[in-house]
Every structure is written in structure tokens, then in C-alpha cells.
Amino acid sequence: MNCELYDDLLDDYVDGVRASDQRSDEPFAAFEQHLAGCTRCQALVADLTRIRLAASALDEHIPPPRLWARIASSIDEQQRQPWWQRQLGGTFSAWVPAAVAASIALLLVAGGWNAWQQRRIETPQQVAAPQPETESVPAEQHYERAIAGLQRLAQAQNGALDPETRAVLTKNLAVIDRAIDESRAALDQEPASALAQESLLEALETKVALLQETVALATDSGGPEETAGPARELNQ
């Protein structure tokens, strides 16, 4: 069917550049004529269009508010550096503390090794396997504990919020809960997926932040008759 003759036009066709690009209509007319009789190219155009549309509709990842705070604080720090250090820039300021830290770490390791060797020589029979004080707890559990605690606080103070704020917060929590459920379902399907794990942790982190905001709003308002300020609605 000579499909390969139209490879070059296929993506332009999917992108809809024909009108804006002022291309000659002739090649496009030939492609459309070919397309009308070629199921292979019809399927390809349909699939690539679906991919393009789905890609353009992907949600934004929202940077956490702490990111700007971190950047602003680093800039502030940079401005307080002496002029010569600013002139030398990141290269100097990055490797000097790193080198100092590495040296200190090396000294500590060496010192620790010597002390351990010394003790081993002095008391050869006392060999005990080190017992970890605590098991490492997955991040998800930390978030869940924080959520449970905050939920108790939020419920206890729920009456302090005005109905409008309460409604927005409830709606936002429902959006986040749906995101958490979706992420858990994805993780169930692919337990090793880093993306699904991060999605879940991100959703849990958002829920913690929202509950913290709820508690803060309730604390600030002090009673049901006061306005607790606007709550921002989350995008679905």
C-alpha cells in the first residue's frame, strides 16, 4: 500500500498542522486519499491521536509549598555569603563543605574502627549480635499514623468551622481519598512500581497537609460563629 511514503505526513496530520503550517494541500490530499482505503494507516492515525489527546490532558504535578521556601532560604543564604565566595559560585561552596564533611566522616570511621578493634582485643569472648532498637517503619505507616491523629483532632474541632469552609474541606478530603484509593489499586497491580508508590505517598502527604490546614483553621476560628477564611478547592 506504500504506507511508508506518508510516514512524514502522518504526525503532522495527527497534530493538525495542515491549516496552520500552510503546507501545500497536494501531499495531504494524496495522504487522505490513501487513508480512505488503508486500514493500517487508519488504525495508526486513530491510535496516535488517542495517545496525543491523552498526553495533552495529563494532570499537572503540583510542587509542594515548601519548595519555594527552600529556594528562598538558599538565595538568602547565598546573599549573606562573602563576595569572594559568591564569585566562586556553587562549585567552591559545594565541594568545600563536602570535603570537610567527608574528612570528618573518615576520622569518625577511623576512630570508631580503632576503638572497636581495641575493645575486641581486650574482651574477645564478648561477642553479641547487635539488636536493632526499632524496625524501620515504611513511610506509608508514618503517614497513616499522622492521618489518624489529625483526623481525631479535626473531628473534635469540626464544629468550630463555618459550614461553607467545612463543605469545601470535606469535598477536598474526598478528592484526596479517591486519589489514595486509585494509587493503592495501582500499587496492588504493580507492587514494584516506583511511580505508583510515589503517587500513593504524594496523596497521603497531601491528606496530612489538608488535615493540618483543617485543624489550624478550626483552631484559628475558635467557634462556629466566626469565619475561618476561604478554603481553596482542589482540582479533581
Binding site: 491510535d47 488517542r50 491523552a54 498526553a55 547565598q78
Partner: protein, 179 residues
Amino acid sequence: MRTADLELAARCRAGDAGAFEELYRQHARRLFSLVVRMIGSVDDAEDLLQEVFLQAYRKLSGFRGDSALGTWLYRLTMNHCLDHLRARQVRMNRATESLDEEGAEEPVAPAPVVPAAVSRLDLERAINMLPDGAKAVFLLHDVEGFEHREIAQILGISEGTSKSQVHKARLKLRMILRR
């Protein structure tokens, strides 16, 4: 647009406290989304975008307005992303070359093979499987909506390379997303 960019850059250089925050607010959301998808990690994306904006702050004196401030920021961001990925030993050039050799894998199908409604998670996962070079161009074109001319500026490649990488990325995604 360019005048506004130059003015904002000049205000930042002059130490206007609010100007750099304005620059951040204008671009952070789109850049953060791009970085998360490029490197596949929200935590790393946060650190990386912080580095990008700190570098932008230091380098603003070199901004001459030859391109839009946004394009300039995207270039810094993509350079950081690709350096980060190289450091993780995912070699962009080799990956892209291997994609060049995969022309034969396109399914010859008499009907569409991609579901009519592609789920967000499936698509995110599939994008994450693309070779770095194709992923970079696909994200800039199909997700961020840049034209090939702009992508060529951002990534320092030709428009032809940008077009062929988008085509290859879409074919690869079609393979991954097939029902």
C-alpha cells in the same frame, strides 16, 4: 512578551525580592510536572527543581532575551534532568540509538490497538518506559505543547530530530499501551 521577560530578569538582577518569586510562580508548576515525568520521582524532582532555580538565579545576569525566559528556564531544566539521568547511568544517546533500530516493531493492525480512553496511570507508566531522549521530546511536544522549533532550541537538536523522536515515541507508546 520579550520586553516583559527582560524587565522581570532586570528586576531579579537588581535584587527585587518579589521578582524572582514571580518568575518561580509563573513557571514552577509546569517545570515541576516535566521534571517528575522525566526522572520518575517526586522527591528527586523537588531537589532538582530547587537546583534549577538556584542556577537560574545565579545565571540571570547572562540572560540576554534571545529566547523567551520560559524557554531559557526549560533549557536549564532539561539540562539538569538529562545530567541527572546520565548520572544514574541511563545513557540517553545509547537509548535513543537503540530506539532508532526498533523501526520494525510497529504493529500492522487493521484496527486501533490503543484503548479509546487511555488511563492517566497507564500513560504515565508508559511514558516512564521511553528512552530518555524520546521521552524528553515527547513530553515537551505532546504534554507541554511546544512546537518542534521551540524544542530544537530547548534541547539543542534539529527540528527534524525533534519530529522523528516524537514519531518514534508515539509508536513506542502504542506498543506499550496496546490492549
